[in-house]
Amino acid sequence: MVQKLDMLKETPSQTAGPYVHIGLTPNWCGIDGVYPEDLGRVMVGPQAEGERITVTGRVLDGSGTPLKDALIEIWQADAAGLHNSPVERRGAADPHFSGWGRQPTDGVTGEFRFETIKPGRVPYKDGRLQAPHITFWIVARGINIGLHTRMYFADEEAANAECPVLARVEHKVRVPTLIAPRSEGKDGVAYTFDIRLQGEKETVFFDV
């Protein structure tokens, strides 16, 4: 018999189910008094550096129906391109910006909404710069393992064109599924990022 590799297997994923909010956004779903505030609700402190932006969107199933029970987490660099993480080795990130957010999709409209800042650029493994992006992680009833994608910014055309990760998308017709259009209104700068789980214009999901 060949020797055994001394490795454990990763615990398998299971769906977050329809009641994921009980555990991850209990105040949002009416379970008051257990935690003072839902984790990840506020990402940006008053003194945070960078351009304030709102990111909204919906998660659509294969019939085009928005998911009203999804939960989304985002993870991103600060305005200088540094992550607020103890394993960030390149420097100290802005202490007034968490970089991590968590929001449910609305129970009626299916819309999610993050108040954040526009991230700076971070390097790829070979040192080339990636285009500014926000990492998305989507869980819900019917999703057996969390889906990982990225949102890029439509007003970063030059950076997007040279991003080593976007360059890996073989079918260029799919690149626009990762790029959020920018709008400016009375509430400031907003980006809209609709995520299509299945079918026409299906969002690119990553195995990282």
């Binding site: 990763e10 398998p12 103890p86 968490s98 195995d207």
Partner: protein
């Protein structure tokens, strides 16, 4: 910064599992795009004990209104390890569950079993320096769900885990040793390999019970391991 071992997606459930009906329209049809993790994925948020309250890991008391919840008192404990068998300290675990009768405290839940006025159903904790965690709760009941005509979930507790990198992010479910409903469940059976499903079954742990108070179950969780960069400069954390 070392990258992580590739996720074994034949061990995890695939996206499309038609016996679990909701997955049919919520599963991507295109292949996932493989990408070696960058600094965006190999970093992640970290949470501190200062962010937690003293009852956050005690579901018997953290929603108490006029007493304690009805049900089988249990302790759930275990370790968070990576695939190299190393403990993961400082990992945030969040968990949620139904009450003893299988009823969730959620506005969309309409099961006729009653709510327990003293049970909320959520908790959280952070692993210690050895990767250990524990919490106290009541054992959840099975509950019916509209999938097949007569499908029931086995008793289970949902777990959400943050390791040290966003790419280790995991949500799963814990089941209880000896529950015959585990092997009838369309969600458990989304996992192709029986050995993988068995990794989700907590063992009854008599040695860690509180005599005359609570039974104990042991549930260890394994997160993705960081690659050792042999023949390269060894990076911190390896």
């Amino acid at each position: 910064m070392g990258s992580f071992y590739q996720r074994d997606r034949a061990w995890h459930p695939p996206a499309f599992t038609p016996q679990y009906k909701t997955s049919v329209l919520r599963s991507p049809q295109h292949a996932l795009l493989s990408m070696e993790g960058t600094v965006s994925e190999m970093t992640g948020p970290r949470f501190g004990h200062g962010q937690l309250g003293p009852l956050d890991n005690d579901l018997i008391h953290n929603f108490s209104r006029d007493g304690e919840p009805i049900g089988q008192r249990i302790i759930v404990h275990g370790r968070i390890l990576d695939e190299n068998g190393r403990p993961v300290p400082g990992a945030l675990l969040e968990f949620w569950q139904a009450n003893a009768g299988g009823r969730y405290r959620h506005k969309r839940e309409a099961y006729l079993a009653p709510l327990d006025p003293n049970f909320g159903g959520c908790g959280r904790t952070i692993t210690d320096d050895d990767g250990r965690y524990w919490f106290r709760t009541i054992r959840p009941g099975a509950y019916p769900w509209p999938n097949g005509v007569n499908d029931w979930r086995p008793a289970h507790i949902h777990f959400s885990i943050f390791g040290h990198a966003f790419t280790q992010r995991l949500i799963t479910q814990m089941y209880f040793e000896g529950d015959p409903m585990i092997w009838q469940c369309p969600i458990v059976s989304t996992i192709p390999d029986r050995a993988a499903a068995e990794q989700l079954i907590a063992a009854l742990d008599r040695n860690n019970t509180l005599p005359m108070d609570a039974l104990a179950y042991k549930f260890d969780i394994v997160l993705r391991g960081r690659r050792s960069t042999l023949f390269e400069n060894r990076m911190e954390g390896n």
